[in-house]
């Protein structure tokens, strides 16, 4: 077992983990942050994308021990100060999700994209998200969602309060 210490969404955690444990399994199984999903086993789908020290990474391709001493941000940490992140708002406003399974990874990949290129055109958005698979939307509204977010970020911050509750299925 190996001892790791890392900050996730602003909270410091210390755990003993198997050296082979993937970061995504650490987040989901140890920290119960189940917003980060696993959609494949060959690092193609991007559903597990998180930010590791500010960079978008596929958490299925990082060992938890490699994240020792790092800062991780997951979808659960996107909304700040009671407001949705502009990307979350964009996905909601532009119907950028259907089943919602790829969405957390898509949001975090888009977050990484906008950090390196705050004003991507449609081509740059499509190229920037080619490592994330969505089977529901055909990407049309995901592109619009990211465009919505870039506009919001240029104007200031998201106007949408983070919902206190969510309507739920069973």
């Amino acid at each position: 077992m190996a001892r790791i210490s890392l900050k996730v969404n602003g909270t410091q955690h210390v755990h003993e983990v198997e050296p082979r444990m993937l970061l995504v399994h650490y987040l989901r199984e140890v920290l119960s942050l189940t917003g980060t999903h696993v959609g494949c086993d060959t690092s193609q789908c991007g559903a597990c994308t998180v930010l590791l020290d500010g960079k978008a990474v596929k958490a299925c391709s990082v060992l938890a021990v490699q994240a020792d001493g790092s800062e991780v941000k997951t979808v659960e940490g996107l909304a700040q100060d009671g407001r949705l992140h502009p990307l979350q708002e964009g996905f909601w406003e532009e119907h950028g999700l259907q089943c919602g399974f790829c969405t957390p990874g898509m949001l975090m990949a888009a977050y990484g994209l906008l950090q390196s290129n705050p004003h991507p055109d449609e081509h740059a958005i499509r190229a920037g998200l080619e490592g994330n698979l969505c089977r529901c939307t055909g990407y049309h509204n995901i592109v619009k969602a990211v465009q919505h977010a870039t506009k919001t970020m240029a104007e200031g911050t998201s106007k949408t309060a983070a919902p206190a509750r969510t309507v739920g299925a069973a």
Partner: protein, 793 residues
């Protein structure tokens, strides 16, 4: 957004933001793999690496010795424990049924067939132990291709199905079609492959089961599109668990596309294991398991003959199809290449005669069943690809050939040559609108100019028909369905006037929590925030059939509508009693029951709902409470339609196709939420376009899946697709009171032929008439080389 009494905004037709989105965009949704129960154990399945083999023995000793392992079971253990085979849900005359054991007992019949299951305290320990299970296989000859499987001497998949033929099925008038083809001025003959596909919902299949000795109830969480179907089949046929002691929950489900309809071995095994071990058990598929074990789709080889008269009018159609069913019959498998395919071969055209025959064939491959569109895309691709080949043969413009042959708008309801009666339709306007949007005449000029410069542009048209909400139950029963195809909807009004809706439909991306709430808020004139939609839990909802075949709006929505009508009628009677008026004099408008002509003599919605539960003053014979349940069994299917046009450029140096534009004009009847309908179409178009260009599940001759991961299988990515240009016409369905048809599969049905036709149009200077999909760079490049070798292009 909220509707206030007296100021009611109609929500039917409004592009509302989805109410379910907040939990998904904040990471707070609950997918099956997110469920963690105290003492949870984890299952991993041991799978056959061979397509066909006899199991000589299984040694589980090393696996059992791994620390943390609770148990290892084989197919024999499960059979000895009373677990039966998984049945097919649709029977055809003289069909050969399969003994589909959750874990293979003595024979494996496809790569990925499960032979043993390991349960351990951690997923990693289970995985380690699964690798130590030693299976002694005697490899047997295998056959993966359905046409080869029909050949004399082919390896046999099941002893009870000689020649690997599961069924032979026919529809239409053979003699009439043959006579028509004989008398036709021109007969276009083409051989088409509709390749095998894999649904690849981004959430892999998963299940978790827990047994409570205190209540003797078993709870199964499962990635299902239809939890009651799971409960019924697993309870009644496979596991023998009484339905009242078996709760199936399909929580948030990450896409289905058909692949999560069926009853899978892992779900059976996990439900059995939790009782056996006295601990909760969870299994989640790895993507490679999705490729090997999720039911696949399509896989048809067809011979087509389409006859035309001297004026370019269709004279007759004859189709002979070989459909690959894979190794076992799963739930809808027999229906997909028959009643969901042959009956759609009339398309949008006025064929005077049609005959279709289908051989369903077993092979040593993963089972094939419904995948988005299920039979209808195969029919549409066949018709629309052949139409384009015919246009070239007859030297007619492909738009003009279609225009000449559409069923006229005054012909509805329209009796087809293949059993169905189309409810309503008006096809030509969708073509004309799409041609205008794409700038058809201008395109042909640009195309000619580009060709002169060595650039190969192509445009492809497809006019499709879709059949949604397959029904009525009596008819589908007579055709072999082992279930009814109605839907349930309960509307429970609480004393304060708030509303809980329990629907038998299941949303796995379709947005029912929004669209169904729009219907309810509209009818009751209450704020949409006062409405909760509950689905996916047999412990909460009435028996329902679930979501597939684009049925939720037309069937599930109508069931809710019927309950709303009953509620309003009861409310009106109660209000009349309270107002001392005759019920026929009371109207319900803007959230208020009032006496006609005396609007101030009235009762607000919440006053009446409270009165219903206080029951202090009720009309004679009226029961207290305000809750209604309806089961809606439609009188017919609904038939959406539309025209899609793709524009592509083929780089003949590399064979690579770029999708430049995509125009879609659809008619799905009345639209409850245009944003959601457009979204469904976008996703469908992407899947269908990907079938035309990239996706292909292909096996080698030994039955090994060559495209068994996302590295090999061409799922479309954001940088491969254009934005979609959509518009619609509205021809309401007369079948249901909402006038809705269905939109879930339309895009997939239309787009494959549109894109394929565009590529073949681009390649027309090379004299290339047809290539089978997917039109990969390698295939296109080779075809261009071959054509050039013959001096073309």
């Amino acid at each position: 957004m909220a509707t206030q009494p007296g100021n009611v905004e109609r929500l039917f037709g409004k592009a509302m933001k989805r109410r379910e989105d907040p939990r998904f965009i904040t990471g707070r949704a609950t997918f099956t793999d997110d469920i963690k129960l105290p003492g949870m154990t984890y299952a991993v399945f041991v799978r056959s690496p061979l397509a066909s083999a006899r199991i000589r023995g299984i040694d589980v000793a090393k696996a059992r010795a791994v620390p943390g392992v609770r148990a290892v079971f084989t197919g024999k253990d499960m059979a000895d424990g009373g677990v039966k085979g998984i049945p097919a849900g649709w029977l055809l005359p003289d069909i050969k049924l399969t003994d589909h054991r959750p874990l293979a007992v003595d024979r494996v019949r496809h790569v990925g067939d499960a032979v043993a299951v390991v349960v351990a305290e951690t997923p990693y320990a289970a995985r380690d132990a699964a690798d130590l299970v030693e299976v002694d296989y005697e490899e047997l000859p295998a056959v993966a291709d359905a046409v080869k499987a029909l050949a004399p001497g082919a390896p046999q998949v099941h002893e009870n199905a000689p020649g690997n033929r599961c069924f032979h099925w026919e529809i239409g008038d053979k003699a009439k079609a043959e006579a028509a083809l004989k008398g036709a001025a021109k007969v276009v003959k083409v051989s088409l492959v509709n390749q095998r596909l894999i649904a690849n919902a981004i959430e892999p299949r998963a299940c978790a089961a827990s047994y409570s000795p205190a209540t003797d109830e078993l709870t199964l969480w499962v990635t299902s599109q239809n939890p009651h179907v799971h409960r019924l089949i697993m309870g009644a046929f496979v596991l023998g668990i009484p339905e009242h002691k078996f709760r199936v929950i399909a929580p948030d489900v990450g896409g289905g596309f058909g692949s999560k309809i069926f009853i899978y071995p892992e779900e059976v095994a996990v439900s059995w294991l939790t009782r056996k071990l006295g601990a909760p058990v969870k299994w989640t598929a790895e993507r490679r398991e999705s490729f090997l074990t999720d039911s696949h789709g399509r896989d048809h080889h067809s011979q087509v003959e389409m006859g035309f008269d001297a004026h370019g009018k269709v004279a007759g159609l004859r189709v002979k199809t070989v459909a690959n069913l894979g190794a076992y019959l799963t739930l809808f498998a027999p229906a997909v290449p028959t009643y969901l395919y042959g009956t759609l071969l009339n398309g949008v055209y006025d064929f005077p005669s049609i005959f279709c025959e289908v051989d369903g064939v077993f092979t040593h491959t993963t089972p094939v069943d419904a995948y988005r569109g299920a039979g209808r895309p195969e029919a549409c691709y066949l018709l629309e690809r052949t139409m384009d080949i015919a246009a070239r043969t007859l030297q007619l413009d492909p738009a003009e050939l279609r225009r000449r042959n559409y069923i006229g708008k005054d012909r509805f309801p329209f009796q087809t040559q293949v059993a169905l009666v189309y409810d309503s339709g008006n096809y030509a306007p969708t073509l004309e609108r799409a041609l205008k949007m794409v700038g058809y005449e201008h395109f042909r000029t640009s195309q000619a100019e580009a060709r002169a410069k060595g650039r190969y542009l192509g445009l492809g048209i497809s006019t499709y028909i879709e059949a949604c909400g397959i029904a009525p139950s009596q008819v589908v029963g007579s055709l072999g369905a082992q279930a009814g195809l109605y839907e349930s909807g309960t509307v429970r009004v609480h004393p304060t006037g708030k509303v809980t809706v329990l629907t038998g439909s299941h949303s796995h991306g379709q947005g029912h929590e929004t669209t169904f709430a729009q219907l309810v808020a509209d009818e009751l004139s209450i704020p949409i925030d006062d409405v909760e939609i509950v689905h996916g839990d047999t412990g909460r909802i009435p028996f329902g059939m679930g979501t597939y075949g684009s049925r939720s709006g037309a069937v599930g929505g109508t069931a809710i509508h019927m309950s709303l009508e009953k509620l309003k009628a009861k409310g009106r009677r109660l209000a009349a009693h309270l107002l001392e008026a005759a019920p026929e004099d009371v109207e319900f408008k803007n959230g208020r029951f009032s006496v006609k002509g005396a609007p101030d003599r009235g009762k607000a919605w919440a006053e009446v709902t409270l009165a219903a539960y206080l029951a202090h003053s009720m009309p004679a014979g009226m029961e207290p409470g305000l809750e209604e349940t309806s089961f809606y069994d439609p009188s017919n299917f609904t038939f959406p339609f539309g025209t899609h046009i793709a524009v592509v450029e083929v780089d003949i140096a590399t064979g690579r196709t770029e999708l430049l534009r995509y125009v879609a004009v659809d008619d799905v009847g009345n639209v409850i939420n245009p944003t959601i309908v457009d979204g469904q179409l976008h996703g469908g178009i992407a899947q269908g376009a990907a079938q035309a260009l990239w996706e292909w599940a292909t096996y080698d001759d030994n039955g090994q899946l060559l495209t068994g991961s996302l590295m090999d299988y061409g799922l479309p990515r954001a940088d491969q697709l254009p934005k979609f240009e959509t518009d619609r016409t509205v021809t309401p369905s007369p079948v249901n009171p909402l006038g809705v048809k269905g939109a879930g599969e339309a895009g997939t049905i239309a787009s494959t032929p549109a894109v394929a036709n565009a590529v073949l149009d681009a390649l027309s200077p090379f004299g290339i008439t047809h290539l089978d999909i997917p039109l990969t760079p390698a295939k296109v490049w080779q075809a261009v080389q071959d054509a050039r070798g013959k001096g073309k292009g």
